[in-house]
Symmetry: D2
Subunit: 196 residues, 4 copies
């Protein structure tokens, strides 16, 4: 259908722009996919890196995700070049933990796949595993600023994990999760820490 | 693909549950589609009721939308039967404008299609056109409570309008909106009041 | 108490920075207060411009509000100078209605006083009365960009209106709103369109 | 001033209602204060349990926080009594990780003190330390349901931690955090993991 094809093409362009901007800042989509796999592998039997990468790409194909990424990365780069006005420049440069606008942009990404992603986002932002930690530390090197970037990629990972959780449920069907014959304790134990 | 088909089926079930619950509360999907058409017809040439209905149905097929709807409608019905504890019962029954939780559930629906839907949601909730106003007034009749329902359907309409705005843009392509040859003034005038 | 005094001083500094930046973009706090009065005067007997101005000032004294304002205004000014990278530059310059990040920053302001402010925000952003419309139109003049500013000031007005609604309720007491002797119909009629 | 006193009284009543409902569900405010202390003690020299308790109480005095708590606890209790309609009853009873509405209510609490609280909320919801874990496990006992409660108390703790971070900054002054003479590396290291 024409409409569907047009949507696919617009999404592919958004994804390509995001991928380029992320690569320029040292982030490969495969790094993000690896974190998605780490978060979800215990809860989705047979999940592999390819499916995680596909989910990351689907998130980046969303217009609002792309806009949040481009805006945040632009602010990081403007801060590096000293091109923001004060006092905003100092706030962004020093990654002031009370700034809050980096989280605001990140949450707009997480929201796209529903509130279940907030838990994973918060966890990634606190513990900073893998590429999230690398980006955070890299932002404190001489002349570098990743104030927005670490939050934004944590949000993309959390959104991609939520997307997989929703799809996996669709495939299994509700019965497999909550049917009367299901050992509830077990389902809860697995699922709790899982998608959310 | 199996995964895609499973997602379609899960969505169809969610939509059917929502449709039933809305019908039981006096809301037809066609009423919602009519409001979507009213909001978007000036900005999407050739938009018709059928496309608006399809968009409403797509919104209701999302798991988180369905959960928000079922939770809000349950609270309205529990309030009608006096089955909530005080002081919550009085707050919900009187549609206390400082309650806030009705808006919180509504916003979780709007969020699914991005922040551009918030403007339409606020407008619908303030002006209360069509079925939104009917549901609001109906909630003040003897023994009736629609504290959540009017906000929830305004959110579904706003989300469906956002979805159409995004898809229409995809079809037109960015060039038609923002290309260097586009008469910017005109595009802005049209688009501003449009999707958002 | 030392802590309280320190908080007051930090707030006063944030407010002063916001006031300066808004004035530089042609927005006076009195213009914002006037819109707050217009929104709330029907619901708060005796409300005057001075109380509305005080509420606007209190909103601007919040750190996160100040950060959202400074970030959005910086992006508008960078767009005017052509100092953002493409495709972000075109998106911001043309106030693309599907951009969404202007609403995202605005919502972070509204949130500070709870979800009841979302309705007023959406209404202001759609109808664009007073200074909100002036700023929006001014942003389409040659070389000017107010993509963020119109949403941000609508959010400040909505937040200030919510703050007044909460405080007015505190003064009246719950009884005056929802007590068993209250004519419920009347309270609902008044309150509905009121704060939210 | 009359208005200030009225606000204080309304807040005290909201707090007392919350405290009672939490105690009925086995949660003491001191348990929440302990988690706040655990989160913030490394970043706020001299922080003690009394200040954390005061911050928890201030969060519970907010009307929207109180409304979110009462609504979520009511839904948990209705689920325990089988008084919700299906399929909502099964979803809430089994703490379905894709439900999402428990997180939606929790986020409305976190929002009150700005987006910096989201990281701590996500962390608490994932790792489930102290009383958050106790409540979560208790919700899986026979006939018990804490689907909302564990998220809600994690949100109260995260909000109280954000409030302390903001106040501590006010007292120290911006200079101590970001002044030109400040060893930036150290400030960043401390602050990063801190409030947010």
């Amino acid at each position: 259908m024409a409409k569907h094809a047009a949507g696919k093409q617009a999404g592919a362009e958004a994804r390509a722009i995001c991928e380029t901007h992320l690569r320029n800042r040292g982030v490969a989509l495969a790094d993000l996919a690896e974190l998605v796999l780490r978060l979800q592998c215990a809860f989705v039997p047979g999940l592999d890196a390819a499916e995680c990468l596909e989910s990351v790409e689907a998130v980046l194909a969303k217009r609002e995700v792309c806009n949040a990424l481009l805006t945040g990365i632009a602010l990081d780069e403007l801060a590096e070049r000293g091109a923001l006005p004060e006092p905003l420049l100092s706030t962004v440069r020093h990654d002031d933990p009370l700034y809050g606008i980096d989280e605001v942009l990140a949450l707009s990404i997480v929201n796209i796949y529903g509130s279940i992603g907030f838990t994973n986002f918060g966890y990634l932002d606190k513990v900073k595993p893998g590429v999230v930690g690398g980006v955070d530390r890299g932002g404190h090197a001489d002349g570098r600023c990743n104030t927005f970037l670490d939050d934004l990629i944590a949000a993309v990972v959390a959104a991609a994990a939520s997307r997989i959780a929703h799809r996996h449920r669709d495939t299994l069907g509700e019965a497999a999760w909550m049917g009367p014959g299901t050992p509830v304790r077990h389902v809860d134990a697995t699922s709790r820490a899982g998608p959310a």
